[in-house]
Symmetry: C3
Subunit: 335 residues, 3 copies
């Protein structure tokens, strides 16, 4: 295992191996497993959980890390091939990535979607170019349309909660003041499909996920025995649900058009998860969200502070699964 | 010991234990005492000494740490209960604190006063709410009206200098371009009273410390055998003083009213400590300040560069006492 | 060895010792050599390589480090003696440096030229004042007119590449949207002269390096057996060159005059290194640059992505030589 770019690159057995290793390291810590190993962390975008959990995870395995945040103590990076760099960016990733990878034993990179050209973002053009520049093990800490660490943490969280592999999983769009990237919804719908679940994407008109994302999830479901459907009807979606996973995202139809997006989402403030959403769901239905979450905009306090909420558990599992990923990347399968 | 929120929570014997442990760790380093332990550091506000000394202190005990600074690589945090989060803050401390505490073995938080509502700031409403959200040992790295790490460092500094426990301690207001929080003056007056000293608060009219702060210090003095008084007369205050502790703070009378504050402080630029302030003091009177200090505005170069200044020693003691605090929080009383 | 301020402070034998130690540590890692040692890193200016390579280098020797970046989580620093600090800067380096040095075992500082007063910048007035405030081993991580870590990395890179000590070394000015400091060109011309090379500074009219810099390099050449000359004729400069080292810098003639500088450089966009520059050079002529580099402004893609480019190797050597410097500073010559 040399790269952790996409959970779709791994079979269910391989995912189970990572979740199992994460659990084993929780029960039987190995505080010297990665002694002497250095993780470089490059954040093109803000982070809380990822920033803290990767550092803490390395520490818990005896390794160390350094953080680079372009624009904060470092100049801005250029990512476009062939760019004439006479603007704000002083360094190109074609230098920055090989240089940083020369200092560390593995490199994690976060680089969100540009949000202008949907096809380019869906193709992960920039992110894959960066990954290709790195000679060391490489970790996707959230790219244009993927967030495999979050997906793996959510998979483990459902395992920890004994959510059936064939349970009903509802990914619901929720309100937010502005359009957010497609990375988490894309990773989540695929993860639940890959896990074998009955996946329903609940979203208002105009907020369907792009075909490329839905088709990819449907292909995963075809392999795993799950299903993927979508609806704008809340009660239909939630009937018998084991999990309601809320997420904010921008409209693919208005991609890059801020004003049209604002008009489209303006009447949708009712898409805020409250306790009454759970009426048609199973009594033990869990509430999940990757965080950060805007309270009383995307999700009501009563849900986040109520007994269904698993959001802190999901975040805590970011560290546990990332430790397993780093262990496999840096130590392989010898144990 | 599960929390280090306020020096007032500790008896003099307990403070002496911490100072003694700090000294012992200086003389007999224990470079593996906290091996495998992780300290999370959350800074809502700028820091120099705290940022560097907590990290270095953990390293000197064999532990590690990570730093999170909302707004710098991380989004802004919301702290108000029930907030509708449609503004700049993307994450609530109700998620952020439990999540961060899941990654570490102890969490330090800095969160200054809002500076709008004096009663709310004096009650430490927000800070205590954050501390209550953390299941791990918790350290106050400066809150609305407290700074126990600074107070403990200053206590040790006076012990190191053999300043008598019953000596005269003058806390003097000094000039600054704008109103600063009450955290350090509140912590300092209480610390000196708790130590048993003859405490005098020297301040111009309009800059009396709030009754809640003064009464709390008087109660500590009643227990320790010290006294607490206040005056606007410099010579009276400094007569026979063993310590002059300078600090900038805002007027409680104009709390949150920037313009009234500016008018009030405008004529007070003479409140800048210079060598001639020390005329009535003891010949060996020490000069103290928590730093950062604006040279030639709050304190003249001649004092900061002169033989009375202990400001670097105080700052160096931030690390030594914090190591003792972390040791007690993470290792308890076994040694 | 107590300070690493300037490569000119070291004899060629001492430089060879550092390069040799760097190489030995690459071949035979000593992962516990600096166990328990703490490096403080103070960045007054942005950084990528320096930030990451110093942290990673300490980690590879078993030590640790902390980073302070004034203005990012820390207030701005004042550096002028006697300043009345009623502006933006809240802390003076006269406090900050001794305080930070009390927490660590060695301190690295980056502080670029102010770019207003050439004589003051050439004299390194501010930087030497900071170095003088530090009681611990001190490292120059780039000052007004020096960058000894880069110079040492470049020396080792040429040794690694078997570039003859008497080879022809061309330092060429290249275009950039604005005037950059003189630190790297000053350090580079001196390093190549000290190494004994035939040094040619190639620059357009108006961009001659200050006499103080050129004379210092000529003195080094006189000792080493090298030579130092300058020209504005590209073909003359590059005839028989073993190395073309490109760097952007501001005109000493317009120092501090942004508008005059802009007018002077406006017609010079042709000073962008492309493959055809290498015609008169040796077939094996290497291309070097300290990074960051603006692609297709200072240097064309074809050169940076071509077989002559050593820019990533130079950056990788930042870590290897800094490990040797830290080793000598913190462990001395015992091995």
């Amino acid at each position: 295992m040399k790269q952790f770019l996409d959970l779709a690159d791994f079979s269910r057995d391989q995912v189970d191996d990572l979740v199992g290793l994460a659990r084993r390291l929780q029960q039987s810590p190995e505080p010297r497993a990665l002694a002497g190993k250095i993780l470089g962390l490059l954040f093109m975008n803000p982070s809380l959980r990822t920033l803290a959990s990767f550092q803490a995870g390395m520490m818990r395995l005896g390794g160390t890390s350094f953080v680079v945040t372009p624009g904060q103590g470092t100049w801005q990076f250029e990512t476009r091939l062939g760019a004439v760099m006479n603007g704000g960016a002083a360094e190109h990733v074609r230098e920055a990535i090989p240089v940083l990878s020369s200092y560390c034993d593995a490199l994690g990179v976060r680089s969100f979607a540009e949000g202008k050209d949907l096809a380019a973002d869906l193709a992960e053009t920039q992110f894959l170019a960066m990954a290709g520049l790195c000679e060391k093990p490489f970790v996707n800490m959230e790219s244009a349309v993927n967030h495999p660490c979050q997906a793996l943490a959510d998979w483990k969280t459902m395992d920890d909660l004994d959510v059936p592999r064939t349970g009903k999983f509802v990914l619901s769009w929720v309100h937010h003041p502005r359009a957010l990237p497609l990375a988490v919804p894309a990773a989540t719908v695929h993860m639940a499909a890959q896990r074998g679940m009955e996946v329903v994407v609940l979203r208002p008109d105009g907020y369907a996920l792009p075909d490329a994302i839905m088709n990819r999830a449907r292909a995963a479901a075809a392999t795993s025995g799950g299903t993927v459907s979508e609806t704008s009807d809340r009660d239909t979606a939630l009937a018998g649900a084991s999990v309601l996973y809320a997420k904010e995202w921008g409209s693919a139809a208005c991609y890059g058009d801020t004003e049209a997006e604002a008009r489209l989402r303006e009447p949708l403030s009712g898409w805020q998860v409250s306790d009454d959403w759970f009426g048609p769901a199973r009594p033990d239905c869990h509430f999940m969200h990757c965080l950060p979450v805007r309270r009383n905009v995307a999700v009501a306090d009563e849900v986040l502070d109520g007994p269904r909420s698993r959001v802190v558990m999901e975040a805590a599992n970011r560290m546990t699964v990332q430790m397993a990923v780093l262990y496999r990347l840096l130590k392989g399968y010898s144990e």
